[in-house]
Amino acid sequence: MPRTARKQQPATEEETGGARPFWSGTLTFGLVSVPVSLFPATRGARSSLRMLGPDGQPLSRRYYAEKSGKDLDADEVVRGFEIDKNKFVTITDEELERLEPEKTRDINLTQFVPADSIPPLYFERGYFLTPAAGSQKAYKLLAETMDKNSLAGIATFVMRGKEYLVAIFSEKGILRAETMRFPDEVRSPADVGLPKKKPATAATVKKFERLISSKSKKQFSPTKLADKQTDDLLKLVKKKEKRRGNVVRVEPEADTDNKVIDLVQVLKKSLAGKK
């Protein structure tokens, strides 16, 4: 992902500091409005490494002017769209905000669909929705109604300079938004150019069916394997920490956003209506 696109990406837990909701807005269905807060449903990777200087001092990425070599502050740079090679059209935050269609400022659930009818290739990232003070009853009404009827609500809305297509799911009384890719961002097998189907022999299909049956489980238990790399990294870190040779100490950063925050605790508090 190019760095220049950072402003457009949904923030992760680290960027929001975790404790603050990353968006507050209103969920609507019919004329009912439910003020809600959005929190990421994913924690940052445990294995992320920091860039350090030769003496272990933490580093930051900075923009600088190529000609003068001078560092540039946030108010000295602008956003530009490359309309032709090396020809840019600049666009301000204010312009982007004013281009937001009015109807998409709220999460307006215009359609409800069977919850298991959306193909997985649409899903991008999950966010929990928590009710704002005073909206618990309307929140519960929507959650219970969707859960009982196995429905997901569909909406589009604009947040932080990007339009999102979302599906809202209800699980255990809690609403969760899954951002989705727009249809023109999803390829079909024909777009990819996969070869035409060749008929399979009944005997081979049967062989695979038997194999599938013999290895079937009723429930999905998240596989630990993908985390092996992280576990190995943490083991090595522990080992090196004991040996002390590769450890540096610097003044801890005052920046509160870098504090480790327990997102689960933050979510629990927010669902219980506590600040």
């Binding site: 269609p101 699980e171 194999l211 999905f220």
Partner: protein
């Protein structure tokens, strides 16, 4: 034009191996901006600086560290990181199968189509078998120096392999508690059910367009020609009313819409 395969491997189910090619199933259409120097509208460069002094640190002096506690870093060398990389393999091992609606949407990260590379008959036989049994396979593999776990599903006549997020990254509803506060009444629940039933339909992705992306692109094109329209600030409206009242009004409004259609 046919897409290019990004990786080659083989699906391993028990003792059967099916050669496959991986293709990205998505293409990001987000409008990308460059960061420019406001003074001369020239592209800017990036470098790493000491967070405190602002002094530039050249690339060859940069090291990577893991913060074990605030201000305490364990340095990991390039050699360490190479050793941590999993041994390369071409096997996508399918270890078990679960019902297709069993895996929460939260797990899915990036989707890839698998195309047959050789042995097309076995490939399409597996698609048929997964479709008949309505199952999704759980697979793991190593690709470009990284472990992956993912779900293998049939999409029409083909196989889709979606990578999963790391188990420790995902927060599940099980770990949380229901919101507190007053419960809705039976009457409100009945009306809400009626309301969602009226808005119920099939998921049809073609109904949704990124209108904002279109508006931004149109504006950029006009601005490039030197006549950007004046943009007005956006107003937001809010309304508050009793829940059952609003529900009744919503149902009435939708009924009227349906009659008019």
């Amino acid at each position: 034009m046919a897409a290019r395969a990004i990786w080659k491997g083989q699906l391993k189910l028990g003792t059967t191996k099916i050669p496959v090619k991986l293709y990205s199933a998505v293409q990001d259409k987000t409008v990308r901006f460059h960061i420019l120097d406001d003074k001369n509208k020239a592209r800017v460069k990036q470098h790493m600086v000491d967070s405190d002094s602002g002094e530039e640190v050249p690339n060859e002096e940069i090291q990577k560290g893991y913060e074990v506690e605030p201000g305490k870093f364990v340095i990991l060398t390039e050699e360490d990181l190479e050793k941590l990389a999993p041994p390369p393999s071409r096997d996508i091992e399918v270890v078990e199968f679960v019902p297709q609606d069993e895996i929460s949407q939260q797990w899915y990260d990036r989707p890839y189509y698998l195309g047959p590379d050789d042995g097309e008959k076995e490939y399409f036989a597996l698609v048929d078998a997964l479709n008949k049994q309505e199952k999704e396979g759980i697979a793991h593999w190593v690709m470009r120096g990284k472990y992956y776990a993912g779900g293998l599903r049939p999409v029409d006549d083909y196989l889709l392999l979606s990578t999963f997020r790391d188990a420790k990254e995902v927060i599940l509803a099980d770990q949380l508690a229901k919101p507190t506060g007053a419960a809705p009444t039976q009457k409100e629940l009945a009306m809400a059910k009626q309301l969602v039933e009226m808005l119920k339909g099939e998921f049809n992705p073609k109904d949704y367009k990124d209108e904002y992306r279109q508006r931004v692109m149109e504006f950029i094109e006009k601005k490039a020609k030197g006549h950007a329209p004046r943009l007005k600030p956006v107003k937001t409206k809010r309304q508050t009313a009793a829940l059952d009242n609003v529900l009744a009004k919503s149902i009435a409004a939708l009924k009227k819409e349906k009659r008019a259609a």
